[in-house]
């Protein structure tokens, strides 16, 4: 599944990873800036995400970024997380030169082209995005409530990536320029290219576009403060939703750190497939839940998150008691070799599925660079799962479960009126 990856660094500090693959006449690029919501100054939550939106508003030389992109058959988008911001594009192999030039152009000319008009317009778009994914989305406030409960102020993972409305409204043109100047430096970025291209020619073009961009110092990132819960936190949220939900969340090992792969495997054993432990118990045998999900949400700060939709007239206390018993069983009795093999087969299938996509492979090169300090970490990543044994899985799970957790109950408006508050 691995292919050769050429890595080099320009004089201004931009690191580049190139992986030719001519199976299909397309090329994908992925430009990762090592800046995310955790880098926002106080009172300016949402700035990293708003900055991502503004990057598509053009520069003085290229006022209509997307028109040029689509004219050569390219399509593109971007994503902001707590840790980083990625800009990705895909198009015919012949379009690579244009895709690279457009990225270089906005890396160089974004700040000069920023204006109040652009900021106000994209602020409205972002506020609409927030209305769509948070305010009007069923259970849309859950991630915000969990973040608030899991992280004590001023932990930078506490606020949502999209930001608080009052902060989004307070962001100024100068805030955007300062943020860009500080974090959108070539030395704070990595560029991955995967697909149908000529290595030497593309490298020459890339150097022509990106090398003239002035060197700026790589910003220093403060280490993340530890995320710790002193005691279990129990929250109850009443919302206009049709069914009650139970969410359980623990702090867990960071991405690629010891314990992370073990928890991935545990999540498979608990909830992937109809015969997974929680699915079998709650959805098949006792029919207390209509959906079950367990996920190790990995990042610089990870969360083990379990989510259950209660069946009709099922009390969340009853559901929680059953869940806790099943979790205890995993901690004490461990997992079987067959369960481990089954989870590994699923994970291996996922690796192969992802490797089909040029865009995903370009993203993975940058992702591994960010978290493992090398773009070529696919094989070691797969090896993490192959090397696991059942006892390591049990131990890692138990270590997380012994920590305090957040219990969040979401109750439908009507049902909540009939119950006493927690």
């Amino acid at each position: 599944m691995t292919a050769r990856c050429e890595s080099f660094e320009l004089q201004n500090g931009l690191r580049v990873f190139m992986q030719p693959d001519p199976r299909i006449p397309l090329v994908a690029i992925n430009l990762c800036y090592q800046v995310g919501a955790i880098h926002e100054p106080p009172g300016r939550t949402g700035l990293a995400h708003l900055c991502e939106h503004l990057m598509f508003m053009g520069t003085e030389r290229v006022p209509h970024f997307d028109l040029l992109m689509e004219a050569v058959g390219g399509s593109n988008n971007a994503a902001t997380s707590e840790d980083r911001t990625i800009y990705y594009a895909i198009g015919p192999g012949s379009a690579l030169s244009t895709l690279l030039w457009l990225e270089a152009e906005r890396m160089d000319g974004f700040a000069q082209a920023m204006s109040q008009e652009k900021l106000d317009l994209q602020r409205e778009v972002v506020l609409n995005e927030r209305r769509q994914v948070v305010d009007d989305e069923p259970y849309g406030r859950v991630p915000i409530l969990l973040g608030d409960a899991l992280y004590a102020s001023p932990h930078p993972y506490r606020h949502p990536v999209i930001g608080w409305v009052e902060d989004i409204c307070a962001i100024t043109v100068q805030d955007v320029r300062d943020f860009f100047e500080r974090y959108y430096a070539p030395s704070n970025a990595t560029l991955a290219i995967v697909g149908d291209f000529d290595l030497d020619q593309s490298r020459r073009e890339l150097e022509r576009f990106f090398s003239p961009i002035a060197t700026r110092p790589r910003p220093l990132s403060a280490p993340l403060p530890p995320a710790v819960l002193d005691a279990e936190r129990h929250l109850r949220h009443v919302d206009s939703v049709p069914q009650a939900r139970l969410h359980l969340a623990w702090h867990s090992p960071s991405y690629l750190q010891p314990g992370d792969a073990e928890l991935d495997v545990c999540c498979h054993i608990l909830s992937q497939g109809r015969n997974a432990r929680l699915n079998r118990r709650l959805m098949h045998e006792q029919q207390l839940a209509t959906s079950v999900e367990a996920v190790q949400a990995s990042g610089s700060a990870s969360i083990l998150l379990l989510e259950f939709t209660a069946g009709e007239e099922v009390a969340l206390d009853t559901l929680r008691a059953e869940v806790d018993e099943e979790l205890r069983r995993l901690c004490t009795d461990g997992v079987s070799q067959e369960e481990l093999d089954r989870a590994r087969n699923h994970i291996e299938t996922d690796f192969v599925r992802q490797a089909q996509s040029l865009q995903r492979r370009a993203d993975l090169l940058n992702q591994y660079q960010f978290y493992a300090n090398t773009p070529e970490f696919l094989e070691p990543d797969r090896e993490r799962y192959r090397a696991l044994d059942t006892e390591a899985v049990r131990r890692s799970f138990q270590a997380v479960l012994e920590q305090p957790r957040v219990v969040l109950e979401v109750q439908p408006l009507d049902a909540a009126e009939e119950q006493t508050p927690v």
């Binding site: 292919a3 693959d21 299909i24 004219a71 058959g73 399509s75 069923p138 069914q243 098949h284």
Partner: protein, 445 residues
């Protein structure tokens, strides 16, 4: 020679559908095998039947079957679309034979045990409760019902209604299984890294006993016709305390029968199918009214529609509706330009070629062909057809869209929506519940 990544995946998809006479041929009298075959009062039957295939078959009960799949790390999913039913397998190539055996067992030997039916029904009703609470999905349900007419086979959601799912019993499921899941007109598609001969032999062995006989007591059919949509209509589902209004325009399109495939694809890219499309640029990039506004073309065997939709700032509903209407009219007053068409062709072909990146994408392309009676060669001709499509052809389709009656479905605060509709002189709305049934009196407000 550049070393290539190995991608040892195997994918298989079985589609059951009415036999196709081929593109451009009349589809009347077609033997429906998807949700269009759902009898009155049993809406969701085809989808529910498809789901139950995975809940126990042959010598394995539901848990044993799930266990056998999980051991392979395989995914097996089944579903019903409007025009057919389908089951889809993906696994590592080394498990292809075992995966196919499980897939065949699900199709040929489904058990439909009472206990499993009740368990899945409870989960299904939970999912419907969530669907019927989601403003975006409500606009889809109410729009289809008004656009097609309440009794049309395409009017109901594929997953049915709570009452209709409650009405399905074991005998009906067994009858539906025989009626929908038989080999006449069925197509099996295979992609991935595998040796053809052993797999073909296995397919032969697994499916040669598939009984072609249909149910003794066939399902009651609905009359299939083009929707009789003559004048523009507005339907509103009242919902308070939403910060956005859900807007969904539906306009008539041809059925999927080989007619104007390229024109539809290209006009869609110009209208709302790409980031630089007219809708996206106007509503999002120029006015900031929405996170995204888009269009799509939905074409099934008997009818189709254009869709233009967005979630818009509730305070700006009137302006957003005005801009939607403006963009629909502009298709005639300012027809697509040569520059727009050129960009649409480039974008479309690039997007299209991306679908060949993965085995699943390839399978989806082949399934799209097979579903509507196109020969596999049609796929190879796509690029040429797109390139040859003229500006006049696209402009003619654009003009017909601009002058067509539309169905506008809205979910939002009723009083302010009424004001907006009056200000824009749009037809008086029909107020309805989340399933499209008319509300009367106080319930409207």
């Amino acid at each position: 020679m550049v070393p290539q990544p190995e991608l040892p995946l195997f994918t298989a998809q079985l589609i059951v559908q009415g036999p196709n006479e081929g593109p451009g041929r009349p589809t009347r009298g077609r033997d429906e095998r998807g949700s269009a075959a759902d009898p009155f009062g049993h809406e969701g039957l085809a989808a529910f039947t498809a789901q139950l295939l995975l809940e126990g078959c042959g010598s394995r009960d539901a848990l044993a079957f799930a266990d056998a799949l999980d051991l392979l790390g395989a995914s097996l999913g089944s579903a019903a679309t409007q025009d057919g039913s389908t089951i889809h397998l993906q696994c590592l190539s080394r498990f292809a034979a075992q995966g196919l055996e499980l897939m065949a067992s699900a199709v040929l030997e489904a058990r439909f045990e009472e206990a499993e039916i009740e368990r899945i029904r409870a989960q299904w009703l939970g999912a419907l409760a969530q669907r019927d609470d989601d403003p975006r999905r409500i606009t889809r349900s109410i729009g289809a019902r008004v656009f097609f007419g309440a009794e049309h086979p395409y009017a109901h959601p594929e997953d049915g209604y709570a009452e209709s799912i409650q009405s399905i019993d074991q005998a009906l499921l067994q009858r539906a299984h025989r009626q929908l899941w038989h080999p006449q007109g069925a197509v099996l598609l295979l992609t991935g890294e595998f040796a053809p001969e052993p797999i073909f032999s296995l397919v032969e062995a697994l499916f040669s006993t598939w009984d072609a006989g249909v149910a003794a007591q066939p399902l009651a059919k609905r009359a299939v016709s083009r929707p009789s949509f003559q004048r523009s209509q507005v339907v509103v589902h009242p919902r308070r305390a939403l910060s956005q209004t859900q807007v969904r325009f539906m306009l008539p399109a041809h059925p999927r029968n080989g007619v104007m495939e390229s024109e539809y694809a290209l006009l869609n890219a110009i209208f709302g199918g790409a980031f630089t499309s007219r809708l996206m640029q106007n509503l999002r990039e120029d006015k900031g009214l929405s996170y995204g506004a888009s269009s799509a073309v939905v074409r099934w065997a008997h009818a189709g529609y254009w869709l233009a939709s967005a979630s818009v700032d509730a305070q700006e509903s009137e302006l957003a509706l005005r801009e939607f209407l403006y963009e629909i009219q502009r298709l005639k007053s300012e027809p697509p330009s040569a520059e727009e068409l050129e960009r649409a062709k480039t974008t479309y072909l690039s997007d299209w070629s991306q679908s060949f990146e993965s085995h699943n994408g390839m399978l989806a392309q082949l399934a799209g062909m097979a579903r509507y009676g196109f020969a596999p060669e049609h796929l190879a001709a796509t690029a040429g057809q797109i390139a040859e499509t003229s500006l006049e052809q696209v402009q003619a389709l654009a003009e017909s869209l601009a002058t067509a009656p539309y169905c506008l479905s809205l979910v939002g605060e009723p009083a302010s929506l009424l004001e907006a509709l009056e200000a824009l002189q749009l037809p008086e709305p029909l107020f309805c519940d989340a399933w499209g049934t008319k509300l009367v009196g106080e319930a409207q407000r």
